[in-house]
Symmetry: C2
Subunit: 288 residues, 2 copies
């Protein structure tokens, strides 16, 4: 069961999580796994910060364990999605996998040398904050709020596709998106995906732009990590080949010759459910 979260404060979101777990819980439920779009200290189950949800410094694992009376395991949502993508049914079945989840933001997850990679303090794999589009002529511009201008998240997320779709609707009144806006309907990323599948060239170009920007982030990840697999998941991956083709073409054009010679760039096999499956796997493997 996948349901949207309502927006509100941290307390409301915690209450929603608890209610959701109670709804599906059975007497056989032994543990709870959770993926959150936050910087997570995996070892302590503590959240350190978030960009797209109202969780700041918070011992979420312990809060939930106390409310639910069950063991709880928490990690970053894209990290658990990477675990799901790397899992072959029994264990992690790839040497190395880089996961990009393109949703409200852009999340990242890493499996390296056959293990989930979390870094020195458990907070690694924030690939959405890779900087790809800064004007560095006179050194680095002053840093700003997150997502930073020039970051992969600011340039290639579902939120950016919303903005691109709205701008295209205004600039191209004869396009499918423009007609939708003229009819007084809201226009967003999912409308661009729908119009692109229906063959609208303006919408296809928006998906291409997003895919090419994503491809730049993928190229840097391949140059750094020479992985076996790069998987693209999250809501925007519903655009399928329309997103994958420009991402793959751009990535391999920018990869250094001799690197990534065995890298497969593909859509997430688990689709938008990779995060849910990965959270369950986290509880099953860590709680075993």
């Amino acid at each position: 069961m996948i349901r949207p979260t309502r927006t509100g404060g941290a307390d409301e979101l915690i209450a929603e999580i608890v209610a959701g777990v109670e709804e599906v819980r059975s007497p056989q439920t032994e543990a709870v796994g959770l993926g959150v779009p936050s910087v997570v200290d995996f070892a302590s189950g503590r959240l350190r910060s978030s960009v797209n949800v109202p969780f700041e410094d918070l011992p979420l694992r312990d809060v939930l364990a106390e409310r639910l009376g069950l063991p709880v395991f928490i990690d970053n949502d894209a990290t658990v999605a990477a675990l799901a993508e790397a899992f072959d049914g029994k264990r992690i079945g790839v040497d190395s996998l880089v996961m990009f989840t393109v949703g409200t933001g852009v999340g990242g997850g890493l499996v390296l040398n056959g293990r989930v990679y979390r870094g020195k303090t458990g907070a690694a794999a924030e690939l959405g904050h890779t900087l790809i589009g800064l004007d560095l002529t006179a050194g680095a511009p002053p840093a700003a709020d997150f997502p930073q201008a020039g970051s992969l998240e600011s340039l290639a997320s579902g939120s950016e596709l919303d903005r691109l779709a709205q701008a295209a609707a205004a600039a191209e009144p004869d396009s499918a998106l423009g007609r939708r806006a003229a009819a007084g309907e809201e226009v967003g990323g999912p409308d661009a995906v729908e119009a692109a599948f229906a063959g609208d060239q303006v919408a296809i170009d928006l998906i291409r732009i997003l895919g090419e920007r994503l491809g730049i982030g993928i190229a840097s990840a391949i140059n750094a990590l020479d992985p076996e697999v790069v998987a693209i998941g999250g809501g925007a991956s519903a655009a399928g080949e329309l997103l994958l083709e420009p991402a793959r073409r751009t990535a391999f054009a920018y990869v250094l010759p001799g690197v990534g010679t065995e890298t497969e760039i593909r859509l997430a096999r688990r689709g938008p459910e990779a995060g849910v499956l990965g959270a369950a796997l986290l509880a099953a493997t860590e709680g075993a």
Copy 2:
């Protein structure tokens, strides 16, 4: 003994390497370790490609082993430098370390989970080809030759410092670099470092620009890998704090809150000799 390499073709460079080894070889020499600025398939000892030396597809390990009659171990030069920086005298003594070598190009080396990280095909850690400065308004621009415009190597290498120094000498005739050029002398990166140490503001600003650009690449590496150490080596690291301070300030400004909370950004402790020491360590640890 460190000596510059002459420029020439692959055969001349191989002959130089063989002559250099023969000169220092003793009856106690059991193996040879080599770091090369190339994409290396570590397992087979084969080079796949290079940007700054004339080595393309080449089984260099076997070629040298036959000429020298000794076991030879070959890896990327920045990767062996990372090994040297991570070594505590007996073993790898850090959880994770990201190495940037700022010389003619920008090299990268990775130690992750206490081991040298080489990726699926042995060619990982090409951090100089991280893309940081592209104009992505209309998607990704067409890819070009390496180093790609917008890459860390094209924006923050010693070669780029040469170019910045020459441009500043022409634009600022009253600066130390401008006076040097007016006297008919060649101007390059090392002159900028020397003038910066002597207090020349134009030169200090050039080192700052290079450091800030490097800091952007470091920020992305920290967001991705949450490492214990980021070490900056290579010839341009001779600028010391003049380079390190802007790199560190910029990197931490762009790192997502909660990531890299224990990361130390420092100059390479082994200085320009990190590569030589790392190559010897490679032979000692792999050949043991």
